[in-house]
Symmetry: C2
Subunit: 297 residues, 2 copies
């Protein structure tokens, strides 16, 4: 199978590595940065570099667009222009509704591998990046069965599990389990920064304190865990938020409604309501765990 990868970073490079070695694919890579392309050849993430998109996709049976989400739609359009009639073009963007609405071509199948990306760049590409990962696919109604099957088969060989889902459902799910957690991590950090600053000022001005004490404020591990992703990957997150704006606005509004309810229960000293709410959160998390949505432990 001949595979083209457009954008050879962490994700594109890992697709190339795994497709070559696990699926015996011939992988052509395109990247606007020629230095990236020569690294990719050296790292054996691609068999050959292409210096034009049209050159990369000619004769390809599968094309993966693995660029930052802000340019994915445009790159996908260019790929479809150059690709043959039997080719399937997929992407790896973390939101799917916007691109599905923009691209009417039946050869396009939206995709989203749930693979960690705390690092970036082809130099961090790994053959096992997708092992055990869910790889969402959002095929339109008119996608040819053979093409979709070819895509599913390759994704399986990359080590991932292809799971088909409606593009709008996908984005609402991602808004609630990924984008909103990132937003709330940023909110937590902003507030803690403000309060910590005030507390340090107060410690400094207190005459019972020794000089060093003002640097000894400390917090527990729950804050570290809750804010691990705050401000992460600055180059891509603002685009992700915007590409999923409708679903994310819906999720933020629902969060505001719930926070207002909690604020009211606190204001009224309603222990019963707080206890019921807290118990429900426990039960829901257990349910999500049983459903495999929250990885253990």
């Amino acid at each position: 199978v001949k595979v083209a990868v457009l954008g050879v970073g962490l994700i594109g490079g890992s697709i190339g590595l795994a497709a070559r070695r696990r699926a015996g694919a011939h992988v052509v890579g395109y990247d606007p940065d020629a230095g990236v392309l020569s690294s990719a050849v050296e790292l054996e993430a691609i068999d050959e570099p292409a210096f034009e998109i049209s050159e990369a996709v000619t004769d390809a049976e599968l094309v993966f667009v693995a660029t930052p989400v802000g340019v994915t739609t445009r790159m996908t359009e260019l790929a479809l222009q150059g690709a043959g009639p039997q080719c399937v073009v997929s992407d790896v963007g973390s939101t799917k509704h916007e691109i599905a609405a923009a691209i009417a071509d039946p050869r396009f199948v939206g995709g989203h591998p749930l693979a960690g990306a705390e690092t970036a760049g082809v130099e961090n590409a790994r053959i096992d990046l997708f092992d055990g990962a869910t790889w969402y696919l959002t095929p339109g109604a008119d996608v040819p069965v053979a093409g979709l099957e070819r895509l599913r088969e390759l994704i399986g060989k990359l080590g991932a599990r292809p799971v088909e889902i409606d593009a709008h459902d996908h984005d609402r799910l991602m808004a609630s389990v990924s984008h909103l957690p990132h937003v709330l991590a940023n909110v937590l950090v902003a507030q803690a920064g403000r309060i910590a600053h005030q507390s340090r000022e107060s410690l400094r001005s207190s005459d019972v304190q020794d000089q060093e004490q003002s640097s000894r404020l400390s917090v527990g591990p729950s804050f570290r865990d809750a804010t691990r992703v705050a401000g992460a990957n600055q180059a891509i997150w603002p685009d992700i938020y915007l590409s999923n704006r409708d679903a994310l606005i819906e999720a933020i509004e629902a969060a505001i409604v719930e926070l207002e309810q909690i604020r009211s229960a606190l204001g009224e000293g309603d222990a019963e309501a707080l206890t019921a709410w807290h118990a429900l959160a426990f039960a829901t998390r257990e349910e999500l765990k049983r459903a495999g949505l929250v990885p253990g432990p």
Copy 2:
């Protein structure tokens, strides 16, 4: 030094273990549950059990009230009734303003060790539970210097660093770095539960899906980290929220204001505002790390 521990659970038991072995203290333990007391003796967390509060605190130089936060104030009052004039009575509750306002006795010094408590009970007590931990103290202006020094010295021998802070500052800090993260974890879980349910229904009703697929929804590690504490320790958290209600309401209101700003920026497609906000979160988290507030990595 003679130490009394009122409430011999995870925290009280760990204080007993460390005070006995590291400070050579004689530790008397009181607990309303006689079975807990005999376990504590077996585990060598206390030297001797007391079956009345007054018996436990007689002749004690330091008393630690280590009960759930809902009964801490009442237990502290009883301890102060029985304790001698030179005794210092401290607690380990996670909020400090309420108890400071309720208790006028100069022998009382509020305390709050930042020690993890994912487990509970004296059987999980550990001599090293406080190693390297910050132990906040909120002494009033009229606390005798010798008594405060005795308390600080023992806390140091338990392995922790005593840090003095104003009770109100402490509660605002905890609201932002501990109580609000717990509230937001519950909010995230509630929303994800609702959306996951809808998505599963949608997968089930889709004729392109195989039967098993509906159980294969999946999320990334950021959700797991952000919701690790959701619904945790149901027996104590509703009381913690309520005991810090003023500061927590303030933190929730600030979070709502920030969420409304983000919602507006998304609605207006304001990439510049989102980018600046996301970059600020990154910078603030780095600052909190440098200040030692967020433990690495």
